[in-house]
Point group: C2
Chain length 320, copies 2
């Protein structure tokens, strides 16, 4: 993300100035720990980009950008408990390093702290910003619930799947941009256009996630390719495969293949039945919709517009 | 709580008008469930009382009062997971009725919803109200952490214990009153005086809780008297006993008594060593301090002032 280096370094500097060295240390140490594990800081960068796009003062967007980053990390901490994940960014999750109670309470405190960072925006937009943020936060909870629900369903529709990833992932990108735009004094409708850009780009990002997991280049991907296939996850590829070739899919599933043989067989099947082609088409449709929304935001700063265009392209076509 | 019947019925009516019948039901049903279990609604009543004390419009305080009730219930849901509590208000806790993941996520959504209810206050006080609420919410998390920390300590000082109960319980009563006062257009210093009233009354309430658990009338108390004694909890009585008669306390603990014999022996010991007297004195000191703070708030509405005085008396002297 060459484009956003400047934003990300501003965010890292602001984060480094925050004091999490507070009492009780059992509560604040885990917060400091999870934030120190890094991550790409893409979501807070979106707050700065949204502000910059309308030539707002980036200083005004710094603490609100931490609200988005803090919220994102809160959701990871609690999701990791629910998913019983052992690692996050290659290090132990909070509930593994400490215990579940510590992770619950640290997450709660992070959610509250995200609201504290948000309280720094100008009073003229405070109610609106809180409204967007709380609506989004609730949607992220709903998305996590749908995701958990899907595990026990035998099949999921394309529509339900896209709605789940919209809630769980995409709306936070949209809200980050919308809040940034409002801080940058964009009009309400310009900020909504930017929200739509973020949501569609976020959806394209998630579709590409499914594609990468199945077809990524093992040398670039960083994770083991085929993880979703091995876990029988209901990805978009699986949903399309069930739609296009239900009989063949059922037959393939009955073979009870394991390991690389299973991954290879499903890769071949996803390609042959047209699921891969359809997922790519869906991704491109979402990317196009995102770029249309960006254009309709009628923003001032062409340089940032180009950055956001490149960013959406990267989200949709990244190889890792 | 005869005094507050009007407030409580307003709160129940407002709560009944909220729609928790939303999708995904796996997320919203537990929220609806826990709110339907009742409770005294004392905390939201404090928002209305704070507003009424300054002759503000109670309608403006209704949704913000739900913010306090929703937050309180959020903290119960997550604390119940951490304490592995099976029952809440005589019914199954959420993590018992569903599971831990449901309870974590429902709690998260409740915390967000509490902020949504708060967003209804007038824009002129919104930033201040959010500041008070978030500070308080973080303190409640800190109080819960201290409470958990105390379990693994061999002894706790009076100062640390009072600080723990201040954070875990008292500040929320204070914040409810302070926010209500601001909605009722009290001055900033009047609202702070009311906060101090709430905090000291809340502390007195918790001290009385310790006294009731050890010395309550079994017929009125509702719970089994002596629960804290049987669990060797570090209550204020135990802290004073350790201060006044450490050698005798150690000797009594070495006897390894169980059941009623243990309860009776500790009751006798708490009285003889002066721990009960000191706890009563502490409670009365806190009550006096609360009433002084109320007087200094210089409020308009004498009827509500009397109600709040009676309320603080009831919190400190209740028998159940």
């Amino acid at each position: 993300m060459e484009n956003f280096k400047g934003y990300i370094s501003l965010i890292e500097n602001t984060l480094a100035r925050q004091d999490f060295d507070q009492e009780p240390i059992e509560l604040y140490q885990p917060i400091s720990y999870i934030l120190s594990l890094g991550g790409k800081r893409l979501r807070p960068a979106m707050v700065l980009a949204g502000c910059d796009l309308f030539e707002g003062n980036l200083d005004d967007a710094l603490l609100p950008s931490l609200a988005i980053e803090m919220f994102h990390n809160f959701s990871l901490v609690h999701d990791d408990i629910m998913d019983d994940a052992r690692l996050r960014r290659g290090k132990k999750t909070i509930h593994e390093k400490w215990n579940t109670n510590v992770a619950i309470l640290a997450g709660d405190a992070m959610l509250v702290k995200s609201y504290q960072y948000l309280n720094q925006v100008d009073k003229s937009i405070l109610a609106k910003v809180y409204e967007i943020f709380s609506k989004t936060a609730l949607e992220v909870c709903e998305g996590q619930q749908y995701d958990m629900n899907f595990e026990s369903l035998s099949s999921v529709s394309e529509e339900d799947y896209l709605e789940m990833i919209r809630l769980k992932t995409a709306v936070l990108l949209g809200a980050a941009l919308q809040i940034g735009a409002l801080i940058g004094k964009a009009s309400s409708s310009q900020a909504v256009a930017l929200y739509n850009f973020g949501v569609d780009a976020g959806l394209a990002f998630q579709v590409q996630d499914d594609l990468l997991d199945a077809f990524g280049d093992p040398e670039k991907f960083g994770k083991k390719v085929g993880g979703d296939i091995l876990q029988d996850k209901k990805t978009l590829l699986m949903i399309y495969a069930r739609e296009f070739a239900p009989v063949e899919l059922a037959a393939l599933q009955k073979e009870n293949l394991v390991g690389d043989a299973k991954v290879k067989a499903f890769q071949k099947f996803f390609i042959e039945c047209g699921a891969e082609t359809k997922a790519i088409a869906k991704r491109e449709e979402l990317l196009k919709s995102a770029l249309n929304a960006l254009a309709s935001a009628d923003a001032k700063n062409d340089k940032v517009k180009t950055q956001l265009t490149n960013f959406a392209q990267w989200l949709s076509h990244r190889d890792h």
